[in-house]
Every structure is written in C-alpha cells, then in structure tokens.
C-alpha cells in the first residue's frame, strides 16, 4: 500500500524526516510511534499527497504522490491531528459535502452519510451543527468523514489526543471494527496504550529517524524486560538511591521523579530494595510497555 525508501523532508535547514524506510502491507494496521515533533505528522502529510518530499522514494497505492496527488487522495481517508470539520455545516452536511469533494454522486453520499452517522453513533445528532458536538463526537465525525469515499487506506494522526478515557475507548472500538473489516490503517500516536491497542506493527520514530521496528510485543521483548519496578524516593533522593541499586535488576533508568528497575520478576526487585535498607515513598510493579522501549531507545520519555 505504502512504500517509502530514504524518505526525507527538509524545511530550510531543518530536517523533519531524515531518510526513513518503511512499508505498509494491505490489511495491516501500521503505527508511527514517537514524541511530538518526531516527524510523524510530516510523514503522514507526504503519504497523504499534500506535501512534496525533499528526497527519497515514495509510492502510495502504487503511485508517486508528486505526480498523482488527486488520484492517490481519492483512495485515502485522512483523519488529521486537529479536527478540521466544516463549522458552517451540520454533521450530516459535513459528510455529504465531503463526499462531493471526491466527485461521488449526491445520492450515494446521502446514503453513505446515513450509514456513517450510524457507525459513528451520531444518528441522533445528524442535524446538529458541528460546534454543538462534544470533542469525542467531533472526533468520531471526522473519522466517519474520512470513510465517506470508502478508502483503501485510512490514515489517523493522533486519533485520540485530547479525549477523555471513555471517549477514547469508544473510538478505539470503532477503529477496531474497521480493522476487522480489512481496512488498512496507518496511525501515529505518542500514546503507548493506543499503539498497543491499534497497531499490529509499528516503527518508533525520533528526530525524523526510525529507531526500531516490530510488533508491540516483539519490541518489548527485544528492548525491555518482562516487568518494571517503579520506585519514588523523593525529588532529590532518586540519584542517591539509584547508586545503591546499581547491581539490582537487568537495567536501571533514572528519571527526575522516579527510578525504574527492569527485571523479569518485579516483586523480587522490591524485596532486594528493602534488603538494601531503602524505603521508597511509593513503589509499584507493572508489565513493560512501549514507553519503556522508547526510553531505552532514546533515553527520553515520550510525553515530556
């Protein structure tokens, strides 16, 4: 569906995307995971044929976006990071009008709008103006809008950023259904849980470069341990405590607010900590996540 090789984007002297390679297979759900400013959205814009690359090769649905922008975009569904719904139209009006941008006959647009409002659980708000909808509703409407042309490839840029937990779960559920129906998804996110929920395969991006690639489980296996003990000793005492813990576990990460100890058995770590006479103010043991993968790869946490 998508093949990028040495894909590069420069804005003046600034290199936003620095020669990345990746491929997306049909029916796959593929993720770009990285902090804000890593180059994810720029990559999405190039794949979406609305931004010309500065170098490298890119084909989307077998076509070069530099030459066939309209033809590629006709088969894409795009959910941008910030909703850009048409504030002057109703929910239904947004879907119908957007379909017309693809040259789809009005009657077909109308029928799909009804189906998509149903899918987005917005049938009752069909005639409400966009401004009257909640954040979660707007997001679902944006996703419904991206489906109006029955795209072969759906691209979602930070689909749930800014939503409350409940709204996020509704949205994930809708996206999961699309995945089951065989829609190819490309998702960017800086949320671990989202990447784990939605992506079968992902690349970790930082500073415009790909740091690692694999399924969420693979990445965790490769770059982290099974469990993590999170220990908080208080702002000024984490460093000192970490020195005492140097030998404990497989690996240590010292963050400003806590110390992370990676090991296959987290409970055993807590016992060793106590045995060394340290008494953290709080401690917890959890499964390793993609957050830990990112920390390992870049030395930074994803949300700063």
């Amino acid at each position: 569906m998508v093949a990028a090789r040495g894909l590069t984007k420069r804005f003046g002297d600034f290199v936003a995307v620095d020669g990345i390679d990746f491929e997306v297979a049909p029916g796959e759900s593929f993720g770009l995971l990285g902090p804000n400013g890593a180059g994810k959205s720029t990559t999405m814009r190039m794949v979406g044929a609305v931004s010309a690359r500065s170098g490298g090769d890119l084909t989307v649905l077998g076509l070069d976006p530099d030459d066939h922008g309209p033809r590629i975009r006709a088969q894409l569904g795009v959910v941008p990071q910030e909703d850009n719904l048409d504030g002057e139209l109703t929910a239904r009006g947004n879907l119908v009008t957007y379909g017309r941008y693809f040259g789809i006959p009005r009657s077909v647009c109308a029928q799909r709008a009804t189906e998509l409002l149903e899918f987005a659980q917005l049938s009752e708000r069909a005639d409400a103006k966009v401004d009257e909808l909640s954040g979660g509703m707007k997001r679902r409407l944006t996703i419904a809008r991206a489906l109006v042309n029955e795209p072969r490839l759906l691209m979602l840029d930070e689909p749930t950023t800014g939503l409350d937990p409940q709204a996020r779960h509704i949205l994930w559920d809708r996206l999961f259904r699309l995945k089951e129906q065989g829609t190819t998804l490309v998702v960017t996110t800086h949320f671990m849980d989202e990447a784990e929920q939605l992506c079968e395969r992902l690349v970790v991006v930082d500073h415009g470069q790909i740091m690692a690639e694999g399924s969420p489980a693979e990445l965790i296996r490769r770059y982290s341990s099974r469990e993590v003990a999170e220990l908080r000793f208080g702002t000024d005492r984490n460093e000192a405590a970490a020195r005492v813990l140097a030998e404990v576990g497989d690996r240590l990460e010292i963050l400003p607010d806590r110390v992370l100890v990676y090991a296959s058995d987290g409970e055993a770590i807590l016992e060793q900590v106590a045995a060394r006479g340290l008494r953290p103010t709080t401690s917890l043991v959890r499964r390793s996540s993609l957050e830990d993968v990112f920390l390992r790869l870049t030395g930074r946490s994803l949300i700063e």
Partner: protein, 271 residues
C-alpha cells in the same frame, strides 16, 4: 495516465486540479443556506443605500453631469453604475481575501478539502465561481432597482451584467493571488487601505477631470476606474471604441491573478 510520459517532479496541472470545482461551489451554497440571511441580503442593500443617499439626496445640489462624449445625465444615473462597479469590487475582494484567509488560516477548511481528491486549483476556481455567482445575483438586483428608477439609459445596460461579472472575476483572481501571499490579519488590513482611495477617487462620484493630470494618470492605472467607466458606458449607452481597453485590462488582470495564484497554491499546499 501513460507510464511512458512520466511527468516531471512538478507534476503539471493534474497535481493541482481534479476538475471538481463545483463541489466547492456546492459546499458554499450549502453553507449559505445555514448562514444568517440578513447578512446575505445586506450585500444587496449597501449600494442601494448609497444610491438613495448620494444619487437622490446629493443629486438635488449637483444637477446634471456631462460625460466625456458631451452627453448630459442626471447625477443619479451618473453614480449608479459607479456604485454597481464598486459593489462588484468590494464583494469580489472580500470573498477572495478575508473570506479565503479565514478559511485558510482559521477554519482550516482548505486543509480538509485538499486531503480529498480536490486540488488547490479546484478550491481556487470553486471559491472564485461562488463569488461571481453571488456578485451576479447582487448585480441583477441592483440593475433592477436602476431600471425601476429609470437610470438605465440604453439597451446596452443588459450587458452591464456580464461586465460586472468580468470585473468581479478580475478583482477576485487578483485578490486571491494577494491573499496567498499574506500571513497575518494585520497584513490583510492593508487591503482596505488600498481600496479606500480607489473608491473615493476613481470617478465613482464625479469625473476625474477635476484632478491635475498626473493624478488622473494614476487613477487611470487603477482597476476600479476601468470598471466604473466600462459599466457606466454600458448603462448610459455612451460607448466610445476605447471601451474595449477596459475589457482588455480586466482580461489581463484575470490572467496575472490566476497565474500567481496557481504558483502560490503549489508552494503553499504541495510544498
């Protein structure tokens, strides 16, 4: 598309235009339906207010005006075509500048449109077509008022309608080119600053013969003077052969405006 004739990296016009500008027009019509109708109607009333206040009220003090050909016309018949041209200019400029700027930078409407199979040229043509459509409706209304008041002095007044559309096209394509170069609202304020002198000096309210020659040349270089003269010639029937130069002026303005717009849109949206 042929594989043999692989286009260069610029992609040609096919990367900018999908031949679906009517979808953008349809969007604007749908938005108009839900908008405040009083505001929509106000575009018609503004020139009518001016016509009554200036043409009728001030006309009692001004008396007749002599056209360059020597024809005497009453003051209302003199300024009515001027007001028609001015309202065509104002409408086209507003639609292609403030309106486009807002949709581009704030409503982020074009971002959504350009994620579809539409290209920047579809958006530009669609916006201009809608502006012309609206301008034509207002102009028809105003010409009707002129007819009722007996201010259309010749059958050629019918041609004032296509003339107004031409004028609006010129201002809209030029306005869009300028908007594509603007970055802030403050820069947009300058557009109004350019419009005011054209409005006050361009023979809208009185012949430019009162001005010293250099000022007259300056005014004659401005688009509004050509618009006013063209429309006035048609509604009064005072049509010297030089009228064609006004048409040529606007055709050139359209050409330049669209060329710049296309280039800038490519730079803005496909960079």
């Amino acid at each position: 598309m042929s594989d043999v004739l692989a286009p260069g990296r610029s992609g040609g016009v096919s990367a900018l235009y999908a031949g679906n500008a009517r979808a953008v027009v349809a969007r604007n019509l749908a938005a108009t339906k839900t908008s405040n109708w009083t505001v929509v109607l106000s575009g018609f009333f503004e020139p009518v207010f001016y016509l009554f206040a200036m043409g009728v009220g001030l006309g009692t003090y001004v008396g007749d005006v002599t056209l360059p050909s020597g024809l005497h016309v009453e003051y209302a018949a003199y300024i009515a075509p001027g007001l028609l041209a001015v309202s065509a200019m104002n409408g086209a400029v507003y639609d292609s500048t403030w309106n486009v700027f807002f949709k581009m930078r704030f409503a982020r409407l074009y971002e959504a449109m350009l994620a579809t199979s539409l290209g920047p040229l579809d958006v530009a043509f669609g916006e201009i077509s809608y502006a012309l459509l609206r301008g034509a409706v207002y102009a028809t209304g105003f010409l009707t008022v002129m007819q009722v008041m007996g201010l259309n002095l010749s059958w050629t007044a019918v041609l004032a309608l296509p003339a107004v559309v031409l004028v609006a096209f010129g201002f809209a394509s030029f306005g869009m080119a300028i908007t594509s170069l603007m970055k802030t609202f403050q820069q947009m304020d300058w557009i109004n600053i350019v419009l005011l002198p054209m409005f006050l000096l361009s023979a809208t309210f009185f012949p430019i013969s009162v001005y010293p020659a250099p000022l007259q040349w300056l005014i004659q270089a401005m688009p509004l003077w050509h618009a006013v003269e063209l429309v006035r010639g048609l509604t009064t029937g005072d049509l010297p052969p030089s009228t064609w130069w006004h048409v040529v002026y606007f055709v050139a303005m359209i050409g330049i405006g669209l060329t710049v717009t296309t280039r800038r849109l490519r730079a803005l949206f496909l960079a």
